[in-house]
């Protein structure tokens, strides 16, 4: 966190000053470790085993916050008889389809629950698999538009829907209640096993376990913070699930000082998922409709309306969105122009799109503040994709490698690409920096903070708002008068923003007000609960409704902290409803009283008959804590007085996920897609539901006990360092930052340096089946060999900021990283196996031969490492 989020880390230091114990778990000793009270080095990619060990420690010693667990989690819910887990099935969960490589979640359900199973065919595949070479075993791979992907992609943020409340055993004794099931599931993760899998000494692990459990409960809470590297794994969503299970068991969710805090990777990445740049979401985490499953509005929202919780009002959110986009053209008679929304036909995630680009199926591409030629996994494949386009629009502050690939990609040097053969027409349109435009940042706390333009952008640089507004305006001018039906969605957009200044920059303030939404009289709404399904309200993003309450830009509030309460509700504006902590009903006990004086936050005021406290209560304001809804209730009406998790259909935190996770209802340890270590727990080596792309340009290594695995004996992991920003466009081009870390380096332990004869400050070549890169060597005691399953495992640390452009240059670490993805969110695994050798890499075509030799020795084919079930 100190490495990637130094400014945010000031609050960790503040907590430390007040007596907090700071524990840092990371494969390498970083700036964060330097300031932590406890540092634990673990093997990259083994976090589920470590967290699972903590869960087991809690359950084994009955250290869970029992009252909280019984009341607010699904621990008491009883599961079906036919659920089976990795202990029963050698590493798989019940419901795995080996041909389709995906899970059917039917057996994961609550007993007697009437749950629609999205895997059961409501989404039909519309496109054949796009794996290599038409191999039959690749039928569910190649990121095909599979059901597994689609169904995860159509949940939005509401998670999966389940109808009806489960049968419960609040004594937690029923052998099939969630509590007992997870207890059995995690029993495997003993301290010995944690040590065996992660390479963490048992006493170190036990210290962390004691620190965490002693600091959780009625009087105390523990927070888990992670930078997004935690999610960059083929089991990334399950990492976070494990953390969530642990925190829910310890009562650390919805309470001050608790939580799981995702430190997002860029300024306003939170904002770019709220108002998404993701293919599978509409604003406010409304699922993108699927072409086959959602022909009309009713089909998109109908099921949701039958559910308990605030997603029950989804129709209001979608109708208000459509009214915001299409204005008067959207009427009840035409389904509010629902038919004009784009549709999913499958996985359109970034890696699928890049593979399609490389295969010539994508003609044009917009890159906005993104440098995939350096910053995305298998950057070589990314560059191939870019080189196969007809046209490419790059919007960035500087000339980045993704705009100059046609002349400085490493493939030019190796002869794999020739500049004169690349037909991509590249348009670089300089962008304004955040200081050169008005707008908001939304941070990880969902806090919107307004920034004012300080200076005009230089030369031709323009804000993104300018770019899209005028692009839309010009396209609409060209289409004006068209009667072609396909032009109607564009021509009917509400596209009339006031502009300002010599460049006619659209008013960001007006856009924020539009996002907030307006009522029938045209005045700004103040809360999403005012949104209506009848078309009388408009809102561009329902969760942001209220940011312009009272016709004022609430995000621009900057009342100093010392002039308000410690929750600081008048600094910026947090969605939803300016609520600073989600699920804060859980800060009070079942009766609505604070769990303790020390941790009081939101509580029930019985006299006034309402919830009150330090924050905006995340609950229906006047719902009595003892309220039990009638069986027939739906939506918010179905939320019981002790259901703090109001976005879940059963109101409870899910220790066990009966629905909605693509790769199992519980997390379990799998090795990364490539690993020199055989999974010590069971035969199943990797996540059986991971997405793989068996392509010539994305070859994977043999793992574990497979022959050829020894050719790539080391673990590599990629990461950031403080001095540079992501793919370097905003740092490697600046002299003051470049001089701080002037070139690419790899970090290795003295023991590995001895083993491979690597010299400090000398050159090393790091090799994978994708390609080889070179870097200077930093030999440091901050990297240590680990003892895993009885053998020594060396790790190679590689920061991923570098590329061939800018002032500070180097090979791109992402050239080494394979595309093998988490099936829930299609994110890559940043951990892999590699070899490392002293000296610089070969130049020109010799590099290709060098890498080919490694592939030959390891016996690699396109299918290597792509198996679903480990043979």
């Amino acid at each position: 966190m100190a490495e990637a989020h130094p400014v945010g880390f000031q609050w960790v230091m503040e907590a430390k000053k007040r007596g907090a114990t700071v524990i840092h778990v990371d494969p390498r000793f970083t700036r964060t470790s330097a300031l932590a009270d406890v540092y634990v080095s673990l093997r990259a990619g083994s976090d589920i085993a470590f967290l699972g060990g903590l869960v087991n420690y809690v359950l084994e010693n009955e250290l869970d916050f029992r009252e909280y667990v019984v009341a607010y989690t699904n621990a008491a819910a009883i599961l079906r008889e036919d659920y089976q887990g990795p202990d029963d099935l050698d590493g798989l969960f019940s419901g795995y389809d080996p041909d389709g490589r995906h899970y059917d979640s039917t057996t994961w359900q609550y007993e007697g629950a009437d749950t629609p199973s999205p895997g059961s065919g409501e989404m039909t595949e519309t496109e054949p698999a796009q794996g290599a070479g038409g191999d039959p075993s690749a039928s569910r791979v190649g990121g095909a538009a599979g059901r597994a992907a689609s169904y995860g992609d159509t949940h939005g943020s509401g998670g999966a829907a389940i109808t009806g409340k489960p049968r419960r055993d609040e004594t937690l004794q029923h052998p099939r209640c969630v509590y007992q099931v997870i207890k059995r599931h995690f029993a495997r993760y003993t301290p010995e096993v944690v040590s065996q899998v992660c390479g963490v000494p048992e006493d170190q692990f036990l210290r962390v376990a004691r620190e965490m459990t002693e600091n959780s409960g009625r009087e105390r809470t523990t927070a888990l913070c992670y930078a997004v590297g935690w999610t960059h794994h083929s089991v990334g969503a399950q990492y976070i699930r494990t953390a969530a299970i642990l925190q829910a068991l310890l009562g650390n969710i919805g309470r001050p000082g608790g939580g799981i805090l995702a430190l997002r990777g860029h300024a306003s990445i939170q904002g770019s998922t709220d108002i998404p740049t993701l293919f599978n979401l509409l604003p406010g985490y409304i699922p993108m409709p699927h072409a086959n499953a959602h022909p009309d509005l009713e089909s998109l929202v109908g099921d949701e309306e039958k559910q308990a919780g605030f997603w029950g009002n989804m129709r209001s959110y979608v109708v208000s969105l459509l009214k915001s986009w299409y204005g008067d053209a959207a009427t009840a008679d035409n389904d509010f122009c629902y038919g004009w929304l784009p549709r999913l036909t499958g996985n359109h995630g970034t890696y699928q799109t890049v593979a399609d680009m490389a295969d010539g199926k994508v003609k044009g591409y917009f890159l906005v503040g993104e440098n995939p030629a350096v910053g995305s996994a298998n950057a070589k494949m990314q560059r191939r994709g870019l080189a196969s386009l007809d046209w490419l629009v790059v919007r960035d502050l500087v000339m980045i490698e993704s705009a100059t690939f046609w002349r400085e990609a490493p493939e030019i040097e190796t002869g794999e690409m020739r500049t004169e053969d690349i037909a991509t027409e590249v348009f670089v349109l300089p962008a304004a920096a955040h200081t050169e435009k008005d707008g908001t940042f939304t941070n990880t706390q969902r806090l919107l903070q307004w920034h004012h333009k300080a200076v005009e952008p230089p030369d031709d640089a323009r804000s993104d708002l300018w770019f899209y507004f005028h692009l839309g305006r010009r396209i609409r001018e060209k289409l004006a008068g068209s009667t072609d039906e396909r032009d109607a969605p564009l021509l009917n957009l509400t596209w009339d923003y006031p502009t300002d200044g010599p460049t006619a920059d659209p008013s960001a303030d007006a856009v924020l007000r539009e996002i907030n939404g307006t009522g029938p009289d045209g005045s700004a709404l103040s809360a999403y609960t005012e949104l209506k399904a009848d078309g009388s309200t408009r809102s561009g993003c329902w969760i942001y409704c209220g940011v312009y309450a009272d016709e004022a830009n609430q995000a621009a509030r900057r009342k100093p902290g010392q002039e308000q309460t410690w929750v600081a509700p008048e600094w910026g504006w947090a969605w939803p409803a300016n609520r600073r902590m989600l699920y804060n009903r859980a800060a009070a006990d079942r009766d609505g009283n604070p769990w303790s004086e020390r941790k009081r936050y939101v509580w029930w005021d019985a006299k006034a008959g309402k919830w009150t406290g330090e924050d905006v209560p995340d609950f229906i304001p006047d719902r009595d804590p003892h309220y039990v809804p009638p069986e027939s209730a739906t939506g918010p009406d179905a939320i019981a007085g002790d259901d703090p998790f109001v976005m879940q259909t059963d109101g409870k935190a899910w220790l066990f996920a009966p629905q909605g996770v693509a790769d199992g209802p519980l997390p379990t340890h799998y090795e990364p897609p490539e690993s020199p270590v055989a999974n010590p727990l069971y035969r199943q080596q990797q996540n059986p539901a991971r997405e793989v792309y068996p392509r010539r340009d994305n070859l994977l290594h043999p793992s574990g006990a497979q022959p050829g695995s020894e050719v790539f004996p080391y673990v590599f992991t990629t990461y950031r360092v403080t001095e540079h920003h992501t793919a370097g466009g905003m740092s490697r081009t600046l002299p003051y930052l470049s001089e701080l870390q002037p070139e690419l380096f790899v970090e290795i332990s003295p023991a590995l340096a001895d083993e491979r004869k690597l010299q400090h400050l000398g050159w090393a070549t790091v090799v994978t089946a994708r390609t080889a890169i070179e870097a200077r060597v930093l030999v440091t005691d901050r990297m240590r060999p680990l003892t895993v399953d009885g053998r020594t495992v060396h790790q190679v640390g590689i920061p991923w900021h570098w590329g061939p452009g800018g002032l500070s240059r180097g090979d791109a670490a992402n050239d080494l990283v394979a595309v093998a993805l988490d099936p829930n969110v299609h994110i890559q695994d940043k951990v892999g196996s590699c070899d490392i050798r002293p000296g610089r890499r070969p130049r020109g075509p010799a590099l290709l031969e060098y890498v080919e030799e490694y592939r030959r020795r390891a016996g690699i084919t396109e299918l290597t490492g792509t198996e679903g079930v480990t043979p």
């Binding site: 130094p6 880390f9 700036r31 360092v721 001089e739 870390q741 930093l778 440091t780």
Partner: protein
């Protein structure tokens, strides 16, 4: 240092450094307290300093000294973050409890394999007795009303006397320019009521700016708190008015010996003995005059 009490203005404690320099109505002496125990090595200070003061980039080379590629203070580096990797200094790998939770018989010693990573942002010390200023022949270096020491680049003639005069090796001549540069403690910002750029940018309050007297109190409290928290290695550096430079305007809390951070353990203002040297020189000159005179008289006597 015994000369301090004798009123020598070249060394020893000096209560009113700005007043001594001729500022009649001046603000309190301002300075830095750099608490290295909370430094996270982000180098924001280095960048903010260069940005604000338009100090040029001075080299893109990987040093191999941990994450320190700045290497040292210099004409184009007015803040420098040192990174020191140490083995065997880490906190105990295991807590001093037996597995059953009871206190162990003997607390485990620190694991020799454990590492400690020290980070420390160094800067011009703005000495009470600043030799650079004392030796400057042009008046380019001067004592400000805030008690800080500033070099004026429009007056500096690049003679370089100040360079060897500094006991810390801070001030230097910029190659290709010829003039001497160093930290101004953001004299321009102070004049406008702002704090220096580095302190402003520091996210963890490792760099604290303020009235020197107040900073000294704060630093003493911090040391006490660290000692109470079981960090006996915490100590102040450059804080004492009794040290060889009469105390630094920019002082530090360190977690190891100064040498570990590349700081001289016992810096002495290089002009401390200037008075004595002049006295000795005068005595020698006088002696010589007497001797020559005597010789002259003697020879005259002989001739006679």
């Amino acid at each position: 240092m015994s000369q301090a009490s004798t009123g020598n203005r070249l060394s020893g404690p000096l209560h009113d450094v700005a007043g001594e320099a001729g500022h009649e109505h001046h603000p309190p002496r301002m300075g830095f307290f750099t608490d290295t125990s909370v430094c996270i090595g982000c180098k924001a200070c280095e960048v903010a300093c260069k940005e604000w003061n338009a100090v040029p980039e001075d080299g893109l080379s990987l040093s191999g000294m941990s994450y320190d590629n700045t290497v040292s203070l210099g004409a184009s580096t007015w803040r420098h973050v040192a990174f020191i990797e140490q083995i065997g200094h880490g906190p105990p790998a295991t807590e001093p409890f037996a597995a059953d939770g009871a206190p162990a018989e003997t607390a485990e010693p620190a694991n020799p394999g454990d590492i400690r990573w020290l980070m420390s942002s160094d800067v011009c010390k703005h000495c009470t007795h600043a030799a650079c200023l004392d030796v400057c022949p042009t008046g380019s270096l001067f004592r400000t009303e805030f008690g800080t020491v500033v070099v004026q680049d429009d007056i500096c003639n690049g003679c370089g006397y100040c360079v060897p005069a500094c006991p810390y090796g801070v001030i230097d001549i910029r190659p290709g320019d010829g003039r001497a540069f160093k930290c101004t403690l953001c004299y321009d910002r102070l004049g406008a009521g702002l704090e220096p750029a580095c302190a402003k940018a520091c996210p963890t309050q490792s760099i604290q700016f303020g009235e020197l007297d107040e900073l000294r109190e704060r630093a003493a409290d911090r040391v006490e708190a660290l000692h109470a928290a079981g960090r006996p290695e915490a100590r102040l550096y450059g804080e004492s008015p009794d040290d060889g430079v009469g105390g630094d305007g920019a002082f530090f809390l360190l977690l190891d010996e100064p040498e570990v951070y590349g700081l001289p353990p016992d810096p002495v203002v290089t002009t401390r003995d200037l008075g004595a040297m002049w006295r000795h020189a005068a005595a020698a000159a006088g002696t010589m005059v007497v001797a020559v005179g005597a010789a002259f008289l003697t020879s005259r006597g002989r001739r006679r």
